[in-house]
Symmetry: C2
Subunit: 227 residues, 2 copies
Amino acid sequence: MSSSVQSKRVRKTPEARRAEIVDRAAAIALAEGLECITMRRVAEELDVRPGLISHYFPVAEDLVAEAFGSAASAELDELLPSARTPGQPLRYLARFFALTSGENYDGMSRLWLNARHLSRYREILRDRVGHQECLWRDRLTELIREGADAGTVRTDDPVAAAIQILVVLDGLSAHANTDRSDRPAVVSGMAVSTAERVLGLAVGSLAALATATPADRTTGHPTTDHN
Amino acid sequence: MSSSVQSKRVRKTPEARRAEIVDRAAAIALAEGLECITMRRVAEELDVRPGLISHYFPVAEDLVAEAFGSAASAELDELLPSARTPGQPLRYLARFFALTSGENYDGMSRLWLNARHLSRYREILRDRVGHQECLWRDRLTELIREGADAGTVRTDDPVAAAIQILVVLDGLSAHANTDRSDRPAVVSGMAVSTAERVLGLAVGSLAALATATPADRTTGHPTTDHN
DNA sequence: TTGCCTATTGGTCGCACATCCAATAGCGTG
DNA sequence: CACGCTATTGGATGTGCGACCAATAGGCAA
């Protein structure tokens, strides 16, 4: 329980304080949306005065963009780790879809929708979203290309495949907020089935890989066990 | 040019005034987003005092939901008219995709993204969005089913097909705000190619129909010309 | 024309926000 | 231990918002 009485003032290095602020703002964004990032709110949660936040981020929008970038980057490293045990692109792809379908991904999924919408009004955030978009696409493209080179994936345009997969994921994110179709199977299965089609994989092959290699957000990486 | 001096007070019937307010709010939503619908803003554009708006909409959120519903319904009737000249489901489908890809659709596309995001916080709006989602899906399903019955479309699940098409359209809307892929063809072609696949149509057939029957937002309906 | 009903006004309240700045006090340095 | 640098405070300013309500005046009916 955070006490509501303010503690004695604590002095930290600018770098540490700045990181602390961004982390807190990112947590708020994931839990309640980018609009909930306010100087007052972040200050309160850090048990600091609002003036301090605006000292580090004279323009509020910078903090919002920074928070989004931080959250998105962290999630990207979680979903599509840049350092991989080589030779298993399909396992990583399966893991990617398992994680993006899981309930743990809800927050990030909403955050992307949130950021995309807010991008219309806030230029700084728009640039950041565009940048993250490139990062995600490149990371996914790299994985697909590795699969294509190894022959486990069949596509003549890895970039296009990555884009199409991400677009469908965005569509699913958008729909998730208000879906009333009463056809959860149709909706939830779209990402994987689209991926299997785009990547020239057999129907159900990704799902099979996912169950064979349970997605573990703690250990993070696909196992290198038999088969 | 609207003069900034306020004119003499004009007394209208509640129905007329209410409709006027909703129309104005819907226009604001389409042009600048649902967040820009404020009592003060709508009042100013109607040359009326803010108190009047809150008289008709004691809770602001009701006006926002009403504005979205109004705009979405109008667009639905434009894109997927309920009264159709029978026997041409494919032409209407082609027209639908031509219109949703056009620049005129940008506003509505953003509005959906906007509404989906805001739905997370505002319950009243969420219900309205869910309702509109059903309307759109049902209207599209009906069209697909008509095609399936006529044999021009091949699908064993018209509802699933409609959902998948709408999900991809949502994904494209989301992406449109920040796309940096430098692969416009990949992105813009996704809706139609997904539709052709889901509906069991030959690649390019919808595009061919669209050019043969130019989408005219004025006359609105596919022509009944030869062929 | 008169009078009444009610649509409309104009003003107020409280709240939350970003932004700014002089004063303060934590803490490493000497 | 004393000092000075600067991270941090606290308070003020101005904006825009929804909500509320007694007073007003438009326009229809009698």
